[in-house]
């Protein structure tokens, strides 16, 4: 169906109902529309595991798409499916996380770096010593274990920083908030909080219980970015983890389809850190803040050089033909 240079692109994603992933899917749609090269998007977007994603990928192969952009449920678990896709002549691009299938192209946020950057900044803010409350993502998720590596790397650089408590939020707001409040109630002293992206509820919890506002590291979610400029006395940093990487994935896929292969298989989008401790950081935050976005959406809705849609387009969340 690649008539007149137009393509059908298949998309596979395995987490539904999460702001980050929703933004990713919208970025894919918006980029497909903005590129003008895509006739149809074929989206498999549901809550499932690696085996389910294999099913989706194979269905996309049956649908004879030209390229598949996939946010892998697991780097190794969908290898077989991606291999079959490549064999069927389909361009495969993995976004957000790496995959082990060598024929696939990867454009990914660097999760290990994400954690390292934030944790390092946090430990510096804490003066290189003290106790940190380590709020991880979902136990057993591969992105979580990648971030854990980065966090541990930073921790190793600051021998006087100790983990006061480690919890898994499951990337769920309510659970994270309850954990924070329970932790506060124990009266354990702590000097900083590192979160795996469930951030604004943590600030809320600190403010509501009138606990001392220790430095908090989170992601560039709209809610948290807003708090960094509005909550008095809050020192913190947002590490970018753009959901718009999905749009970049579509761009990469289209480039390959058009015969412009990138020099290397893997493109890593490096995270940035926006903090509110310095004037320079504050300015960056102010520029990035976007109260009109849903608080769960990352504010970095575009990636320079990789995405060409407008804000209206991504917010409208409409793909070609919709």
């Amino acid at each position: 169906s690649a008539a007149a240079g137009k393509y059908t692109i298949g998309i596979s994603n395995t987490v539904q109902g999460n702001g980050w992933r929703e933004e990713m899917v919208c970025a894919m749609k918006a980029q497909a529309l903005a590129s003008g090269e895509v006739t149809k998007l074929n989206i498999a977007h549901r809550n499932t595991d690696a085996a389910g994603q294999l099913e989706d990928i194979r269905n996309l192969i049956s649908a004879k798409v030209d390229a598949i952009v996939v946010n892998p449920a697991d780097p190794a678990g969908i290898k077989a499916g991606l291999e079959e896709a490549t064999k069927a002549g389909i361009v495969v691009v993995a976004v957000d996380q790496a995959v082990t299938e060598p024929s696939a192209y990867i454009i990914s946020n660097n999760q290990e770096e994400y954690a390292y950057l934030g944790a390092k900044w946090l430990f510096q803010q804490m003066g290189g010593k003290g106790e940190v409350f380590y709020m991880r993502g979902a136990a057993g998720a591969s992105a979580d274990s990648d971030r854990d590596k980065g966090f541990k790397k930073a921790l190793a650089e600051f021998p006087d920083v100790k983990v006061a408590q480690e919890v898994f939020t499951g990337w769920q707001q309510d659970q994270a908030k309850q954990q924070m409040l329970s932790f506060l109630a124990t009266g354990t002293p702590f000097n900083g909080v590192w979160t795996s992206g469930i951030d604004n509820v943590i600030v809320d919890a600190l403010v509501e219980s009138q606990a001392p506002l220790v430095p908090v590291v989170g992601a560039d979610n709209a809610g948290f970015v807003g708090q960094l400029s509005s909550v008095k006395g809050l020192v913190g940093a947002a590490v970018t983890n753009p959901g718009s990487i999905g749009g970049a994935g579509v761009t990469l896929a289209l480039q390959i389809l058009d015969g412009k292969k990138p020099p290397q298989q893997t493109v890593l989008v490096q995270p940035q850190l926006w903090e509110n401790a310095t004037e320079e950081g504050k300015a960056k935050l102010k520029a990035a803040a976007d109260p009109s976005l849903s608080p769960e959406w990352p504010v970095s809705i575009m990636i320079p050089d990789w995405t060409t849609y407008t804000k209206e387009q991504i917010v409208a969340c409409k793909g070609p033909g919709e």
Binding site: I43, T48, A51, G52, N59, A63, G77, A80
Partner: protein, 324 residues
């Protein structure tokens, strides 16, 4: 013949629905062929085992909420044991993991019998326990699987005496599924134990009075459920090549397919064929939704509607039947 029709009516109807769906699929995607059918069979595999696990306990008058967690645990166990190990070692891993599923399933049953806590609560608690155990085995997705295991469910085998065109429609995954289920289910169904499972689900009191060892049968039903779940866990490892400690969407899917398959949630009625066909129907619906490039958010609505509509339709038929 009359009895057969009355008893198997639902299954026949479901099969007709499946055939209709295949025709629809062919219309949507004229290129839909044997390879795609192979993909379907592989997608069905873990669901089919999950639903078999659920079916056994539902027939015995219970319910098992720990199916998906059991699959996760057996899957990570298999994957972590096979990681970096030799191909032959897997010959030991497979029976070990199956035995583990059997024993843990029996534990489910034992707890229900001993504590007299309702099955739904015991298996809910076990869901957490098994999930925790899976996390202890593997903190993050990983591990490996022997190549021969992975090969076991991909592609087709040439069956002597059958033309290739037919062979191609008999993917290995389907044969594995049929083999595993038949080896356990058919002898079971014919055995005294199988009858006893139906009996305790139909009427525990009458079963007890007919001399059925109710407690032992209940424990064995859960053990069998654990065994099927272990098959499901292995199927996950075989298809993905890894083990993931977070349970997949198999619990709710298994309950839905059991009901769609004509097994009453009160126990004592139905068989395994219906739920398995129901799994094929549900997976094929998903394939069609993907082929049609339906808005993914609408697919959730459609899947929910199908489930509710089919079950309501079934209820409607039974109601009509009762009135006449």
């Amino acid at each position: 013949m009359n009895h057969f029709l009355r008893r198997q009516g639902w299954v026949i109807g479901l099969f007709a629905l499946l055939v209709a769906l295949f025709i629809l699929t062919k219309l949507i995607q004229p290129g839909y062929g044997s390879g795609d059918f192979g993909s379907l069979a592989r997608a069905v595999l873990p669901y089919a085992f999950a639903v078999a696990a659920q079916t056994v306990v539902v027939i015995a008058g219970g319910i098992d909420l720990s199916v998906a967690a059991m699959m996760a645990l057996t899957s990570v166990t298999a994957a972590s044991m096979m990681a970096g190990a030799s191909e032959e070692y897997a010959l030991f891993v497979v029976p070990f993991v199956l035995a583990m599923g059997f024993v843990l399933g029996a534990l489910n049953g034992l707890l229900i019998v001993v504590t007299r806590v309702p099955d739904i609560v015991v298996t809910l608690a076990m869901l957490f326990v098994l999930q925790g155990a899976a996390l202890l085995v593997l903190g993050a997705p990983g591990g490996g699987a022997a190549e021969w295991l992975k090969a076991l469910i991909s592609g087709t085998v040439p069956i002597p005496g059958l033309p290739d065109a037919v062979d191609a429609w008999l993917p290995k995954a389907l044969l594995v599924l049929i083999f595993c289920l038949c080896v356990i289910w058919i002898p079971l169904r014919r055995s005294r134990l199988g009858l006893s499972i139906y009996a305790i689900g139909s009427s525990e009191l009458a079963a007890f009075r007919s001399g059925v060892p109710v407690k032992r049968t209940r424990i064995l039903a859960y053990a069998l459920s654990g065994l099927f779940a272990a098959f499901g866990g292995l199927a996950l490892t075989m298809s993905t090549g890894i083990g993931a400690p977070i349970p997949g969407p198999y619990l709710l899917a298994s309950v839905a397919a059991v009901v769609l398959g004509g097994v009453a949630l009160g126990g004592g009625k139905g068989g395994l064929l219906g739920p398995i066909i129901a799994v094929f129907v549900l997976r094929l619906v998903r394939t069609d939704l993907t082929l049609l490039a339906i808005d993914p958010n609408v697919t959730a609505i459609i899947e929910g509607l199908i489930m509710v509509a089919v079950v309501m339709f079934g209820a409607f038929i039974t109601m009509r039947g009762r009135q006449q």
